[in-house]
Symmetry: C2
Subunit: 260 residues, 2 copies
């Protein structure tokens, strides 16, 4: 297991690095993303001296709907036969600590969706389930922010892409952890300090390997792309000013706030 | 008006260039996209010696639904109050002459949708309608290929993104024309030589400037991004082996074929 971060250095430059030391307080800098043949630069930083950025720069975020048994039961929807997804564009990316900006055109509910994120390490096209693991670099935390009332605002065209695609609606971080045992992990979401989501990732319908394989039959996944594996019970609304924290133990805590 | 292309040179390198000469048969090579501060390399080619590629490399293709009055009337749908869109990922891009590949998982109808494409030249975020023109580099031709039967295959989640997001389903080309007068132009689509679409772009609901302005309120548009402005009447199915040609006089003819 390695923990990779992307950060702004004290001198303002953007760097990549791997946590080191018993408590992960040291950062060994590399010249590239962990999945991109990185070499150490020779620099070492205290983690506390660095401003964290989203840990990768996805060309696209593939976001799944209805991928947890408990949520499917609550919504009274059948388990899908193929991953159901939309695309959040690269322009929606936000990192740890970043504000989620309320769109000027929208005064409805903005909801958090705490999720596990799969980070692709190697180009994936038509890969089998057995091959998929070697295309996954690691796992991160995602808040798949959604302008919930937009989805059905037009009765003729569900606006999943627009509702989830606004700038700053794709919160990713704080780190990417390789070899992470997602089966034993849970997603916890706290809104202004109060726990709102706490669900086991083992309840997932399509596993990460199945997702990578199935989606790669449809569209090519590139290094740095993220798959947001879907959320489960407890999605709720964030008021302007709210602080939302999505935690996956072993990866970290992704904190963002809503700016009206 | 300038006509910009991207191409593979006889030596295998990828180049950018501008058509020159009374008949556009000469290509003046530049070191970058037309919207990216290009300088001439000094090389000049015969156009016939070059293999055309998609004329830009969009990070995303924003594809509109229901943006022509005639189609809205036929579908008996009201005119939308905001552009209705989804995102086709960069991985869906195909260029002139490329095959549209039938997904292995899908044996249903694959349809053509001949469209005008807007090519963004300058980063656009929260731009007004008046400012929008300065963010448009030019116009191209798009075939917004769609696995039509997938859209409603799951009764609980319309799969617009998947149906339109497959690799090779975003055909763009053959060129980008600056200062193009779209108001006087028509889109013509021919399937195996038979005309199937012929509609005036002046029937558009949201103009290109309105689209760029409205969409830039939602998500940041980057140089090279394409907006597929939506199609009108005459969409139809392409059999494996079919040759489809989308023509906008003044821009060019985009020819692709379906490979089963």
């Amino acid at each position: 297991m390695q923990t990779w971060i992307r950060f702004r250095r004290p001198d303002g430059h953007i760097g990549h690095g791997r946590l080191d030391g018993a408590d992960g307080s040291r950062v060994i800098e590399y010249d590239n993303d962990g999945f991109n043949n990185p070499s150490p630069t020779g620099a070492v930083f205290e983690r506390s001296a660095l401003a964290l950025l989203a840990p990768c720069e996805p060309g696209k975020v593939v976001a799944l709907w209805n991928n947890f048994h408990a949520l499917a039961r609550k919504l009274e929807k059948p388990v899908p036969t193929h991953p159901l997804f939309l695309i959040k564009p690269a322009s929606s990316l936000a990192g740890p600590g970043d504000a989620v900006l309320r769109p000027k055109s929208y005064d409805g509910k903005i909801v958090y969706e705490g999720e596990l994120g799969i980070v692709i390490g190697k180009k994936a096209r038509n890969v089998s389930v057995a091959e998929a693991a070697s295309h996954i670099f690691g796992y991160t935390v995602v808040n798949d922010v959604t302008a919930a009332e937009l989805i059905s605002a037009d009765p003729n065209f569900p606006q999943w892409t627009r509702a989830k695609g606004f700038d700053t609606f794709g919160c990713v971080g704080p780190a990417i952890v390789t070899g992470f045992n997602w089966k034993a992990a849970s997603v916890v979401t706290r809104l202004d300090g109060v726990e709102r989501q706490n669900y086991a990732l083992s309840d997932m319908i399509f596993s990460p390997e199945e997702q990578v394989s199935r989606i790669s039959q449809d569209l090519t996944l590139m290094p740095g792309d993220v798959i947001a594996v879907g959320t489960s019970l407890g999605v709720g609304s964030m008021k302007d000013g709210a602080v939302v924290e999505v935690i996956i133990e072993g990866i970290g805590s992704l904190v963002n706030h809503v700016r009206g």
